[in-house]
């Protein structure tokens, strides 16, 4: 696995996404319509949306977006073409490029999602910088976990139920940490108080990415 290889594969992913914009536009529309649905169902004018609910709802929406966005990372390309890549590149390079690409995609989607969400449902965040840090870490964690899971689900016939069933229990620790950091950011708490969660989140990410790098070679061989 070389850095140039990862770069080249990443470039390929970006190019593919750019050429078939409908998938990306579809994801953007998915985020916006989910937010609209939540907005309508909560009936915000009656003031039901307290800050903790605002926070949790946002991350749940992002979780479902992540499942849908990352699930297609192995679906987009035909079987034959994947075989072709496997003859060209190392498996570690492929999975790393996919993780980086999905992290970028998730970051973009979370950003756009937050923008739209704030416009529609208000933005009670008091410490925007910490909230953005939480978003970046969430993007990386969602992408690293779900990329591997989508690789597994793809081998089982790309069943989207399977993707959720396999992915949700695994993502829970990350999601809890992210929600906690985001909650501290909303309340404008001292940043050092979130240090524990930040370190734990980074550690979970390190575990997940290392295990993915080790296991993916066994996955793609089949």
């Amino acid at each position: 696995m070389r850095l140039e290889e990862v770069k080249a594969l990443l470039y390929k992913e970006l190019l593919l996404e750019w050429r078939q914009r409908y998938a990306f536009n579809g994801m953007l529309l998915y985020v916006s319509s989910t937010i609209i649905v939540c907005y309508m169902s909560f009936g915000v004018r009656s003031g039901m949306l307290t800050p903790p609910v605002w926070n949790t709802l946002f991350w749940i929406i992002m979780l479902f977006t992540a499942v849908n966005a990352v699930a297609k990372s192995f679906l987009q390309e035909a079987e034959g073409r994947q075989l072709y890549y496997y003859t060209l590149a190392s498996p570690q390079g492929i999975i790393l490029a996919k993780i980086v690409y999905n992290a970028m995609l998730m970051l973009l989607l979370t950003g756009v999602g937050l923008l739209f969400y704030s416009v529609v449902l208000g933005n009670p965040v008091q410490d925007p910088l910490l909230f953005i840090v939480a978003m970046v870490l969430a993007a990386i964690s969602f992408s690293s976990t779900f990329t591997m899971i989508s690789g597994i689900a793809q081998k089982a016939g790309n069943n989207s139920t399977l993707m959720a069933v396999l992915g949700f229990p695994v993502i829970v620790p990350t999601l809890l940490m992210v929600i906690k950091i985001a909650k501290s950011a909303m309340d404008g708490l001292e940043r050092s108080l979130s240090l524990d969660e930040l370190v734990t989140l980074l550690a979970i990410n390190a575990i997940v990415i290392t295990v993915s790098l080790m296991l993916f070679p066994f996955l793609w061989r089949s």
Partner: protein, 224 residues
């Protein structure tokens, strides 16, 4: 004699469990406020979790072995250890709920430890759903081994790190004393340690029977 040499650990398991049930229910236990006699749950609830973790660890070890060797035999071990671990986990959560009903006042009180163990069970239930979705034996074995290892690595922070970061009602977490603090005269220990070993051996016994059944089925299918 030959038989005894091979099966001594099953005899040991039976003896230890007899001892656990009799001594665990009848021997003196510390008299404590609120806990009262529920302290005896220690011999039945806690060994379930130890047993689950040990069996799931064995399952992961065999998943790694399968990926290295490609022999279906190892996959059979991995599944059955996961199966036995899952049963222990379900028993652990049920015994824990009964204990919580009498001490915390509710079966389920949104305690981080309870939530995390429920999620750990979901992970392994998902493992069996994943296995069910393949036709080909080798494909199933390989992909589910990958998920097994991946899920176990993701489960470690779930069970060990997260409950320590939040406040919890559970003994031994969030500033609550563990049971070793109550056990001043080591009476509980005398039952607890044998109980852990006994339950774990019982789990191994379960798993080994099921593995033998599977291997025999494989052989029959090959001969057809």
């Amino acid at each position: 004699m030959e038989k005894l040499k091979k099966h001594w650990w099953k005899v040991l398991a039976a003896l230890l469990l007899f001892y656990t049930v009799i001594a665990g229910l009848l021997m003196d236990a510390p008299r404590l406020h609120i806990l009262n006699e529920t302290i005896r749950a220690l011999h039945f609830h806690v060994p379930m979790w130890f047993g689950m973790l040990a069996l799931l660890l064995l399952s992961v070890v065999y998943a790694v072995k399968y990926l290295r060797s490609g022999e279906l035999r190892h996959d059979r071990y991995a599944v059955e250890f996961a199966n036995a671990g899952l049963i222990f986990g379900i028993l652990g959560i049920v015994t824990g709920m009964f204990w919580a009903h009498y001490t915390w006042g509710k079966f389920w009180s949104f305690d981080p430890k309870q939530n995390m163990s429920a999620i750990a069970l979901l992970i392994y239930l998902a493992y069996f759903v994943l296995r069910g979705s393949f036709e080909d034996d080798h494909q199933r074995a390989r992909i589910s081994s990958v998920y097994n290892i991946f899920a176990f690595a993701a489960m470690v922070p779930l069970l060990f790190i997260l409950p320590r970061l939040t406040s919890s009602l559970h003994p031994g977490n969030g500033g609550n004393p563990g049971f070793n603090a109550y056990d001043l005269d080591s009476n509980l220990r005398m039952v607890f340690y044998p109980a852990v070993i006994g339950w774990f051996l019982l789990g191994l016994w379960f798993a080994s029977l099921r593995v033998r059944l599977r291997l025999v089925q494989d052989k029959l299918e090959d001969n057809l």
